[in-house]
């Protein structure tokens, strides 16, 4: 880790340091979600019919969300592969696919929320729903931020091509995206599957 300090080395050292810093940030995000999960776990029984997970969650809906997000994780991986081969066009292309899948996911989620609200299940109905909405929408917010960020990176790739800075940005971005996928898997399991069990 103690690189000798020549300028070009220094530059790469800097970029790799940023990736490491981002990894640490992801750890803090893990803790953040852990707290939300803990809160949800404590409050998930604090509800009455008809506002139980069993009655509210729709299996086709959340299954579709899951597969979309899984696929987008895969396509963001393909984007990195393209980048490592030095191909800008496919890189941007795969990122675009990822963005679209992310947007579809968000669309479905908003749709799900609107349906639930129309059935009277709002964030202020009871503790179970409060913790449900905070947990799920925190994840959704992360995905939305990711979408905006990814678009920004696509523009930068157009402008600057693949170089050490843009490369690092794509790397960091795809870590983030995989991470959100992992979080969703636990949401899928703990919130939805265990909710309809």
């Amino acid at each position: 880790m103690q690189q000798s300090i020549t300028p070009q080395h220094e530059h790469e050292h800097h970029e790799s340091m940023k990736v490491f810093g981002f990894w640490i940030f992801l750890m803090t995000d893990c803790i953040l979600f852990a707290c939300l999960f803990a809160t949800f776990a404590v409050l998930r029984t604090h509800t009455d019919s008809p506002f139980t997970g069993n009655e509210l969650f729709e299996i086709p809906g959340f299954t579709a969300e899951t597969f979309i997000l899984l696929t987008s994780s895969f396509t963001s991986g393909l984007a990195t592969l393209a980048m490592n081969k030095g191909k800008v066009k496919p890189l941007i292309g795969w990122l675009a696919v990822t963005v679209l899948l992310g947007a579809a996911f968000i669309g479905l989620e908003i749709n799900e929320f609107m349906k639930m609200v129309s059935e009277g299940a709002t964030i202020s109905t009871n503790a179970f729903l409060s913790s449900f909405y905070t947990l799920v929408s925190t994840h959704g917010l992360h995905v939305s931020v990711g979408i905006v960020w990814m678009i920004a990176i696509m523009i930068q790739l157009k402008k600057h091509g693949i170089q050490s800075v843009t490369k690092r940005k794509v790397q960091v971005m795809s870590l983030y995206w995989h991470f959100l996928d992992v979080v969703w898997i636990f949401l899928f399991t703990v919130v939805y599957l265990m909710g309809v069990m």
């Binding site: 880790m1 103690q2 000798s4 300090i5 300028p7 220094e10 050292h13 340091m17 940023k18 490491f20 810093g21 640490i24 940030f25 750890m27 803090t28 995000d29 803790i31 953040l32 707290c35 939300l36 803990a38 809160t39 404590v42 409050l43 604090h46 509800t47 964030i123 202020s124 109905t125 009871n126 503790a127 179970f128 409060s130 913790s131 909405y133 905070t134 905006v148 960020w149 920004a152 990176i153 523009i155 930068q156 600057h160 800075v165 940005k169």
Partner: protein, 644 residues
């Protein structure tokens, strides 16, 4: 308007007037001396860790003053319980702001100031890993603190205790904006603290001078590493806890409310998952400072280096497993209480090891009674007793008797003042000459030292007694029949002594700026670590040439071997450019926080949009660095050498 400005209390009108006068004076001075540009270019946009450190120190000392005035007001009321010097409401606001400010806006920035001053210099680096992020951290802290502090004159201060337990802090019982200020003030500065934690962790792990293995690293750097690890894994908990409280208050959710199935105890559980480690976050760097100071002023290598490192890492990780000791009396179960009682006591073991190692560093050394050393020596007995009463509190069944009594208040002031404040002051006196190039006056320093110390015991020893007499915390008045009054009176006298000590310190700084002993060597204490190998104050780039540091106490070894840090030829140096975005982004956060506090949704959203724009703007910046040419470096170096 009547709801907006706090009205009806002469103390507050006084404060209003003081604030207006100060602001006008500052604006006038800046304009008169044409300093606005200078302020913007040299300070507001700076990414230099040394300057950021100075700004942290200034804010932190101001906050120590504010928190101290709060303390003095509380003590005055408690000395005369029959008078209505402070009404219940006012008293409640004051202890809430006192606790919050002292821990989050005094101790934390003081700590970050020392991180900034010392870490890059001590590990032989030119700056921190992410200088831009570092500036952002500072400004987030600054505007978070500002938001919290204006609640005092606008809207009303929070009054539900420094940890704001619901349902007391929920809309149902605190309908005002005070708790919103609390949430956003801490939230905004908390994001900054988290970023600093990541920043310094990466700095220490990735930016050490060549040859500096982790197990050769100075102990202060180790302590910062331990503290950062704790920050990284606990501050997100604070973020979530406050966010959930906000969701309750803003969206009418039922997470911690009494109705709708909310569970207020979950808040207590979550906030202490952060709150307990937080006290170790602030005390670990103090431990690091003591290690440096003891070794330097005993002219001896630190004793048991490996044990010191391990004990800090153990404390850092173990601190995550003890949080329930703050609510044993919730009665979560005998198994839960027994488990957490034992993990809590266990922290005494590594801490004890550190105490012994400090003692044996002095043993067979040569002790110089300088100001940093005085504070260090005063720390040992104070923290020993405070730690011991901590262990007594950890005895769960006994805690059923101490909980929320003045016994607890005495315990934590002993650890917070005796451990943290004394430590940071030792660090301040120790590194001051490095940053400013002159020492702080000795005679005034000794006065301040004795006032603080005597004041401390006079103030807090009687509080143990009050605890045994059954006096609970957070009461603004009490009857005469319990016999509490004399002890409270003595305690108040002690608080004033500490206050005078602080005033003397203020004078000491002003006096020393004019007449302090200049330091031209860069190494006024005969130091042992790399920061003493460069001139004081250090040039922007710190090290003209990155040193080799293959030994523990690298600079000491170099001096022994007669190696000079100067070089004959220099290379161009790569530096980060200044940026105004951190400041602007923090202003946007401030606007967002302010808007959401008052439920002015559009202002809140506008602020958040501003934050987003700043983030994007930064993302599109590619030329964020510049070179200092080799010629310039050698010019600066020559200038320093001439000065020396």
């Amino acid at each position: 308007m009547k709801d907006f400005f706090v009205t009806g209390d002469p103390l507050i009108y006084g404060a209003d007037a003081a604030i207006v006068v100060t602001v006008v004076a500052i604006v006038f001075v800046l304009t008169y001396f044409k300093k606005w540009r200078w302020l913007w270019r040299e300070w507001i946009t700076t990414v230099d860790h040394k300057k950021i450190g100075i700004m942290y120190i200034i804010c932190s000392l101001l906050m120590l003053f504010r928190g101290g005035v709060d303390a003095i007001l509380m003590r005055l009321q408690l000395a005369m319980p029959d008078t209505k010097f402070l009404e219940s409401q006012h008293y409640n606001e004051i202890f809430t702001t006192h606790g919050t400010i002292m821990i989050l806006f005094m101790a934390m920035p003081f700590m970050f100031a020392l991180f900034n001053w010392v870490i890059p210099l001590q590990i032989g680096a030119r700056d921190v890993a992410f200088p831009y992020l570092n500036a952002l951290s500072f400004w987030l802290f600054f505007f978070g603190a500002l938001l919290f502090n204006i609640s005092f004159v606008i809207g009303g201060s929070p009054d539900a205790g420094w940890l704001a337990y619901p349902p007391l802090s929920e809309l149902s019982h605190s309908p005002g904006v005070g708790e919103n200020f609390y949430i956003w003030g801490i939230q905004i500065s908390g994001i900054g603290s988290l970023a600093s934690g990541i920043n310094f962790l990466v700095t220490i792990l990735k930016m050490r001078a060549p040859g500096m293995k982790l197990m050769k690293m100075p102990l202060f750097s180790w302590s910062v590493l331990a503290s950062c690890i704790t920050i990284i894994f606990t501050f997100p908990v604070l973020t979530v806890t406050l966010a959930l409280l906000f969701v309750d208050r803003f969206f009418g959710a039922h997470i911690f409310t009494m109705d709708g199935g909310g569970n207020p105890m979950m808040y207590v559980n979550l906030i202490w998952m952060w709150g307990h480690p937080e006290v170790y976050i602030v005390v670990l760097p103090a431990f690091g400072i003591y290690s440096e100071v003891v070794s330097t002023f005993s002219k001896k290598k630190i004793f048991g280096y490996t044990s010191m490192v391990f004990s800090m890492m153990i404390i850092s990780v173990l601190s995550y497993f003890t949080w329930v000791h703050h609510f044993f009396t919730m009665g979560a179960g005998a198994d839960v209480n027994a488990f957490f009682a034992i993990t809590t006591m266990a922290i005494g073991i590594p801490t004890g090891v550190k105490v012994f190692n400090w003692l044996f560093t002095m043993f067979r050394g040569r002790i110089r009674m300088t100001q940093p050393m005085l504070w260090t020596l005063a720390f040992v007995p104070c923290f020993l007793v405070g730690g011991a009463t901590g262990v007594m509190l950890a005895v769960a069944p006994a805690d059923y008797q101490y909980h929320n009594s003045y016994f607890l208040i005495a315990h934590f002031h002993q650890t917070l003042i005796g451990g943290v404040v004394f430590g940071y002051l030792a660090g301040l006196y120790y590194w001051w000459p490095k940053i400013f190039g002159f020492k702080l006056n000795d005679r005034l320093g000794k006065w301040a030292f004795w006032l603080w110390n005597i004041g401390f015991y006079v103030c807090f020893m009687p509080q143990y007694a009050l605890g045994f007499m059954g006096m609970t915390r957070r009461v603004y008045t009490y009857g005469w029949d319990m016999g509490w009054a004399p002890y409270n009176l003595v305690s108040t006298v002690g608080a004033f002594l500490m206050g005078i000590g602080f005033v003397v310190q203020g004078w000491q700084i002003i006096y020393s700026i004019k007449r302090g002993e200049r330091d031209l060597t860069g190494d006024p204490w005969n130091g042992r670590t790399l920061e003493w190998s460069i001139p004081s104050p250090p040039p922007v780039y710190n090290f003209a040439k990155i040193p080799e540091a293959s030994e523990q106490d690298a600079w000491w070894e170099m001096k022994k071997k007669g190696i000079k840090p100067t070089a004959t030829s220099y290379e161009a140096i790569h530096m980060p450019k200044n940026s105004g975005i951190p400041f602007l982004m923090s202003v946007c956060w401030f606007i967002a926080g302010f808007g959401l506090t008052f439920h002015w949704i559009w202002i809140g959203l506008a602020g958040l949009a501003g934050v987003g724009i700043c983030l994007l703007a930064r993302s599109f910046q590619y030329k964020t660095e510049y070179y200092i040419p080799a010629k310039e470096v050698s010019r600066i170096e020559a200038m320093y050498r001439r000065g020396a």
